[in-house]
Amino acid sequence: MSTTVQIQQLRNSARLLRSLSRSIGTSRALSLHALAGPDTWIGPTAQSCYEQLLAMRRQLTTNQLSLADTAGRLDRRADELEQLPPVLKMVS
């Protein structure tokens, strides 16, 4: 695979990951916990649901950040490849 194609793939992948990260970050799933607290309901079912929503939010947020990090890493890799001298680009 040529370096140019590789760079393009890395850029595309980074763009998709950022888009995915944004989709997760703007999902209404992240704000559900605010509606599921003791102002709405009380009892074991309520508590269990609230904890599940909090845990779900934590996992989604962690993955959202992780996707943004990965996108940054792919972009940096593409930058490095772009800066290679033409001879090395052919080798890599």
Binding site: L20, I24, R28, T40, W41, P44, T45, C49, A55
Partner: protein, 308 residues
């Protein structure tokens, strides 16, 4: 049967928000290999909403079995009881809680003593133990690493030291030669913790790099439940007293000190965990992580033994 109370208008808002959130999650898609972990998380979140939260809210909103407040006396603890008093003042509706007759109670309903008692009686079922290599070179064994999503909730702790150990510890404060032991049993409640099961090969390994791990065969699950951990540590030291006679006997210069520590434990999940393949390498540096094996031989620094 435990009672639950709810504000119908707010619960209907929650139901609509759950539907909308599920719709959002279903629209999130990606085939990119770098997004595999995130997509697993999104699918898991969708299942949580679709299979658990939405049906529960729906059941409560459509329940016709209304309950009088006087039954709230069956609530599981004082906190719930107090909340139900508030709920009555707000004229909230009340129903028998569908969860109270199913599965384990919430952590507020199971005390430290309850957990110990139910552990001994077998009412609590532990998670399956890691696979043991039984000391056979090149045989496979597994480790279980628990990564709490939050600071674990401590239900209680007891001191397991013998009276002699406590006495030795007491006199060690004033004597030049001392021996301090700590032996405690702690019960934590973990909510939404990640547990990673890794497969290792029993070989001699580099101390810095840890045991040989087959990363492709790692699996992970999200669990909630009780973590029971027995910590055992001891410090032997020789201290040279400094200062004039009659000064603080605990002040001194430490000439020699040797420490040893270890832990063992078992996890009791609220529900049987569902493990799925994972590619991410776990971190051994998180201080809030417990890693357990059943084999003593492959133990690395920071790992504990499965079982109590």
């Amino acid at each position: 049967m435990t009672v639950m109370a709810f504000d119908r208008a707010r619960l209907e808002i929650l139901r609509n928000a759950l539907d909308a959130a599920l719709e959002d999650l279903r629209l999130i898609r990606s085939d990119d290999v770098h997004a595999a972990e995130a997509m697993r998380c999104v699918r898991s979140a969708s299942r949580t909403l679709d299979d658990i939260c939405i049906p529960r809210v729906h059941d409560i909103l459509t329940s016709t079995a209304m309950t009088w407040y006087k039954r709230a006396g069956a609530a599981c603890d004082n906190v719930t009881e107090a909340a139900l008093v508030t709920a009555r003042e707000r004229r909230w509706e009340m129903v028998d809680d569908p969860l109270s007759g199913l599965g384990p109670p919430s952590r507020a309903c199971r005390t430290f003593d309850d957990v110990l008692h139910q552990m001994r009686s077998g009412a609590l079922t532990p998670m399956s133990a890691p696979i043991d290599a039984n000391g056979r070179a090149l045989a496979h064994y597994t480790s279980l690493t628990f990564e709490p999503a939050d600071t674990p909730f401590v239900l209680g702790q007891i001191d397991l030291r013998s009276n002699i150990d406590k006495l030795v510890d007491f006199f060690s404060d004033a004597l030049p030669i001392g021996m301090r032991k700590h032996h405690t049993l702690t019960v934590y409640y973990l909510t939404g913790a990640r547990v990673v099961s890794n497969v290792h090969t029993l070989t001699a390994y580099d101390r810095d790099e840890g045991p040989e791990t087959d990363w492709d065969r790692g699996t992970a699950a999200t669990v909630s439940g009780y973590m029971v951990v027995e910590d055992d540590s001891s410090v032997a030291e020789i201290v040279l007293p400094i200062g004039p006679e009659g000064s603080d006997p605990t002040a001194g210069r430490r000439l020699f000190s040797q420490e040893s520590s270890g832990y063992s434990g078992v996890f009791y999940p609220d529900e049987p965990p569902v493990f799925e393949p994972v590619n991410r390498e776990p971190s051994f540096g998180n201080p809030d992580v417990w890693t357990f094996t059943t084999s003593a031989a492959p133990m690395v620094d920071g790992w504990g033994t499965w079982g109590l």
